[in-house]
């Protein structure tokens, strides 16, 4: 597979996952804002912190409130991570490799793009309906990918992009909301406003699965444990890390064990760190610090994947020749 193509596949999925997450964050906040009594801590500012674009927001909308937050996150052209920009970038990457992805995938991302760009009736809907439609558009893209794309390298690079972005977004929303909802660090595990915690779970797309897996009441500790360490929930950090590690092995393609390289070391260590631990240990060592460390690990993983697979190999490197008629040759 061309390096450039692998790069595009990876980014299509990161952008779609990002758009889906941001849409969900805003969608849940829209609903929650209606429950908040006037003057209470509103749900909007934390979203800016969770998006990681606080500086840009303050520059574009100094002192901005609810309306500005939503505009910034969903539509703003000046915010490279706004939902509309994410979809445009995903679509642009898809356009560059239309020959590799299936027609159904292309049609899905392309229709979503034109809907956001040109359909007046779309933006005339109530906000939660808009966001729901975007979220469903992204989910449909995954579904179509699942049902149509061969499980070759293109699938693996798509999955890598999706999982890395997902782990990142789950931890960001947890990080911001968790500490906001706890009045002070000493009160970890203390009294809670259940509605707020439900909304956090909903923001992470985890409410229903959480309820099914936990028979008791909602506690902050149980929420954090579920989002970080649950082995079966597809958006938990542990689940994502397991799949990332597995995918990297497949992409690396070496069946003979050898000394692990930087990329394998990092993915293995990160997976171990989030598999062989418990929530009490994480909280006592500082949850925020643990999440911070994970985010920097994810960034480093991205850097190593980029350097290994996406940068065009120079001719000075040893030439690896794979004959096109071998069954294992990449598509």
């Amino acid at each position: 597979m061309l390096s450039r193509v692998a790069d595009s596949l990876y980014w299509i999925n990161r952008y779609v996952e990002r758009a889906e997450n941001i849409s969900r964050f805003v969608e849940v906040s829209e609903a929650m804002a209606l429950d908040c009594p006037p003057g209470s801590a509103e749900p909007w500012q934390p979203l800016i912190d969770a998006s990681g674009d606080r500086e840009l927001f303050d520059r574009l909308y100094p002192g901005g409130g609810a309306t500005e937050v939503v505009t910034f996150l969903v539509q703003a052209e000046a915010n490279p991570n706004s939902v509309v920009n994410c979809i445009a970038l995903a679509r642009e990457n898809a356009r560059q490799i239309r020959d590799v992805i299936t027609t159904e995938m292309w049609e899905q991302i392309n229709s979503l793009y034109w809907t956001l760009l040109e359909s007046d009736s779309f933006w005339d809907q109530p906000p939660q309906e808009q966001l729901r439609e975007i979220r469903r558009g992204c989910q449909l893209f995954y579904g179509v990918t699942d049902a149509t794309l061969s499980r070759d390298l293109s699938w693996q690079f798509s999955r890598l992009g999706r999982l890395i972005e997902r782990a990142d977004k789950t931890t960001r929303i947890l990080d911001v909301k968790y500490f906001l909802l706890l009045p002070s660090p000493e009160e970890v595990g203390g009294v809670l406003d259940e509605l707020q915690w439900i909304s956090l779970l909903r923001s992470a797309g985890a409410y229903q699965m959480f309820r099914q897996s936990q028979l008791g009441v909602i506690t902050p500790k149980a929420v954090a444990a579920f989002l970080l360490l649950d082995p079966a929930f597809p958006r938990s950090v542990r689940y994502c890390m397991e799949r990332i590690h597995e995918t990297l092995k497949l992409v690396g393609g070496s069946s003979v064990p050898g000394a692990p390289d930087d990329l394998e070391c990092l993915s293995g260590l990160t997976l171990a760190r989030w598999s062989y631990t418990g929530i009490d240990e994480l909280i006592s060592g500082g949850l925020h610090e643990a999440i911070d460390a994970l985010q920097s690990d994810l960034n480093n993983l991205h850097g190593l994947i980029h350097a290994r697979y996406f940068v065009l190999p120079g001719l000075a490197e040893p030439v690896v020749v794979s004959s096109p008629d071998l069954a294992c040759a990449p598509a």
């Binding site: 597979m1 692998a6 034109w114 794979s322």
Partner: protein, 484 residues
Amino acid sequence: MFTEYRPSKGYDEYFSASEQPRRALQPLLSSLGALGLDELNRNHAAAGMLLKRLGATFRLNDSGNRGGERILPFDPLPRLIDHADWQRLERGLIQRLEAIDLFLADVYGEQRILRDGVIPREDVESSQGWRPQMQGFRPPLGKWCQISGLDLIRDGQGTWRVLEDNLRCPSGVAYFLENRRVMKRMFPSLFAGRTVQPIDSYPSQLLQTLRELAPWTESPRVVLLTPGVFNSAYFEHSYLAQQMGIPLVEGRDLACQDGRVWMRSTSGLEPVDVIYRRIDDDFLDPAVFRANSMLGVRGLMEVYAKGRVAIANAPGTGVADDKLIYAYVPEMVRYYLGEDAIIENVPTYLCSKPDDQAYVLAHLGELVVKAVSEAGGYGMLIGPHADQAEIVEFAEKIRANPRNFIAQPTLELSTVPSLSQGELYPCHVDLRPYVLRGKGAWVTPGGLTRVALKRGSLVVNSSQGGGCKDTWIVEDAPQEVGSC
């Protein structure tokens, strides 16, 4: 539905001069009547949306990631060509390309045709498409033009003629294929009662043609080389690569080393055998052609010359689709094949010949004058539509650089009813069939019908308000329903 329709004074392909429907059209006219104009207009709008969703768009300018893309306007009324007529045209197209290919082999080889004085040497060597670097070169299978798209027109009498030869990277074939898909999806009822020749095998035929160019391997690696996503024909490049299942590459994805061309992949470098290039000669290899090209591959021509990679079409074919050399093609057919051209040219005056120039300058108001170096409907003077100032200005240009101009009588291009402002209007059309030449030769059934959707306009180019139509090759006698 056609009660308000008035055929043009030239040749209308639906109705005869006495406004009677032509025989082959009858089943279609009754399906159209059953559909009705309102429904036709509604489905026409939906077809536009469908093309956009399919991504059959071209980008107008560098407008970033948001918008700036247009579809090629699609007209739902198909253009019909009788099967018997078509068989003759197929033979004519193959004959013409055979002669052109022999001409290319000759001018880059022994140059017999120049020494025999059939074509003036200076007309060849002054062409913008002339590539002296190709002299002495013999391409795979000895053929130069693997993929061509010739522009045909019907004149006021309905006679088919060749208007232009496109022998470098003719575009539009993806629209030809997509139009049929859209037509079947949005207007299935129009197909009732007859069989239209299917066109879907084009990508397989193209792949087969390309694979035949690499006799040194059983399983050639074929790639399509595009200038990139900002090229206006990018949709077509990605569409064809996808349909053939071959990698779509840019110059930066390829490299030359150890006498071969390689593709940079996630598992290192992989060898490439055949390049279907959609970039111009000038940009192919900065070591041989334009030195500042960022689109090509350094060292490509050296590998090509050693026969370790095939390039389609061969560099240098542009000399034969020069608008001036075009005038000599009937001579080429006689010279190399000893036959008369099956499809005639449009009568053409060469301003480089003093007699012709004098005639052209005296008759500018009646002629169409074309700049040899321009394409896409630019650099033209359409005499009957021009004012005096434009004519004077053009005469100056011709005197200053006669080699750059040819002139042709203003042709009353044939018309086909088309939707214009919600009504049926006779719009002028041309036809671009595509011809593939590997070991054998294959012509697309029909081709891309381009239509001048601006009322009264004779310019069918997409850059000047042109659109396109589906083209049907049909048996003249309607089949009995159910005989299929």
